[in-house]
């Protein structure tokens, strides 16, 4: 296998290196990539859509159809992780419980389980983790600020680098921090699986829903100018608000899917113990 690998790599590498003699110079402003459509986007983005960040306006307005299917791809990835890994029946495994008032730990094998919300017994992980006060306190302190930063990145995507996708990943990472610093069961209690699934579908629904709403109002699909008929802003600002609306949809979908993929991978589908 290694010899075949080296031969294939050398052949395709040589072919690509031979093709570089046709490339334009790096940094040339008149290269073919920068001369056909993108001058129009740069010149007209502020005047047509009132959004200074050219990347956000191209992503969500001029090429909004691609971004809708990108959101669908993320949703499909979360869904397929769920379908591949989720198991509901617990096989003959051991669960470890601790009696809270006396501190005795014991192991329960077989089908009998103790209720999750009983006040005298708490479930502990199979792999012993040390009780770390610093990590728990610091993460409990930091998580609200991380979430506010994620919302800031979403809301400020019009003027600074950012947008729906980056904010969604940061928000999902804050929920993953809770799952790592505390128990996986703590984070599942806060953000249940049903709500997670609902959010991931809600994000795609918001995006396609705004597009269909524009269609219902008389314009094309994802033509945000038509939103000015219903809301009290003019046709140019309507595009900026349409961009904000679809970015919110992308944010919600990405946040839910990041959490879904993490929880399913780290617990092998059983949603009981994790890192």
């Amino acid at each position: 296998m290694k010899k075949i690998g080296i031969i294939i790599v050398c052949l395709s590498g040589a072919l690509l290196l031979y093709a570089t003699q046709d490339f334009p110079r790096w940094g040339d402003p008149n290269s073919p990539a920068s001369t056909h459509v993108s001058p129009r986007y740069i010149l007209k983005t502020l005047e047509e859509t009132d959004v200074p960040n050219a990347v956000t306006s191209i992503l969500a307005d001029y090429r909004g159809y691609d971004t809708m299917f990108e959101t669908t791809v993320i949703f499909t990835a979360g869904l397929s992780c769920l379908i591949l890994l989720r198991v509901f029946k617990r096989k003959d495994e051991e669960c470890y419980y601790r009696h809270i008032s006396t501190g005795i730990t014991f192991c329960v094998k077989g089908d009998k389980t103790i209720d999750d919300c009983s006040k005298e017994f708490e479930r502990i992980d199979t792999v012993w983790t040390p009780y770390d006060l610093i990590i728990k306190t610091v993460s409990r302190f930091l998580v609200p600020f991380i979430q506010i930063f994620a919302l800031y990145v979403l809301a400020h995507g019009h003027e600074s680098p950012g947008g729906g996708f980056q904010g969604g990943v940061i928000f999902g990472a804050s929920l993953i921090i809770i799952a790592i610093a505390f128990d996986l069961r703590t984070s599942i209690r806060r953000f249940k699986e049903k709500i997670d699934g609902l959010f991931s579908a809600l994000g795609v629904f918001i995006y396609a829903g705004i597009g269909a709403f524009c269609l219902l109002l008389g314009g094309n699909f994802l033509d945000y100018k038509e939103l000015a008929r219903v809301f009290p802003f003019d046709r140019i600002e309507a595009r900026a608000y349409g961009i904000l609306g679809v970015e919110i949809g992308v944010f919600i979908a990405v946040m839910a899917v990041m959490v879904c993929i993490y929880v399913n991978i780290v617990s092998e589908g059983r949603h009981d113990e994790g890192l």
Binding site: M1, K2, I4, G5, I6, I8, V9, S12, G13, L16, L17, T20, Q21, F23, P24, R25, W26, G27, D28, P29, S31, A33, S34, V37, S38, P39, Y41, I42, L43, K44, T45, L46, P52, N53, A54, V55, I58, L59, R63, D66, T67, E70, V73, I74, T76, A77, G78, S80, C81, L84, L85, E159, S160, P161, F165, V257, I261, N264, I265, E268
Partner: protein, 132 residues
């Protein structure tokens, strides 16, 4: 020979990107462990994204965020050569998203393979498949 040296110096960055792509491709083909193959796939994807973004660069230009309502925002005052081409960035944002989604699903599949065959090495999996 002179022409070759001149050609390499002019396009050195493209050559380095192609070397990075070939490292990723080699890892995908020749490595035995499934997770190493995934790492190779990701290296390949990010190298292609790097190459694509680099063709949008312009010498002496700034980031593609136009200044707020102030000086130089009327259409005749914006010079296109002052701003980096934003179109490759947009396409590559979608590519990064697709890459992370593929990585997540591929890790889930690797987990299922491990649960079934108790190994992640490709030759051992093929052996156990033949024995069954």
């Amino acid at each position: 020979m002179e022409a070759l040296i001149h050609h390499i110096v002019a396009n050195y960055n493209y050559w380095l990107y192609i070397i990075l792509m070939m490292i990723g491709l080699y890892a995908m083909i020749a490595k035995n462990n499934l997770i190493k193959k995934l790492v190779g796939m990701n290296i390949f994807q990010t190298a292609i994204i790097l190459f694509y973004v680099s063709i949008g660069c312009k010498k002496g230009a700034t980031i593609p965020i136009l200044p707020e309502h102030g000086e130089g925002t009327a259409e005749h005052l914006i010079k296109v050569a002052d701003y980096i081409n934003p179109l490759p960035h947009v396409l590559m944002l979608t590519a990064i998203v697709v890459s992370v989604s593929t990585f997540g699903v591929a890790l889930a599949i690797a987990l299922k393979i491990y649960q079934r065959y108790q190994t992640l090495e490709e030759d051992e999996i093929l052996m156990r498949l033949r024995e069954r």
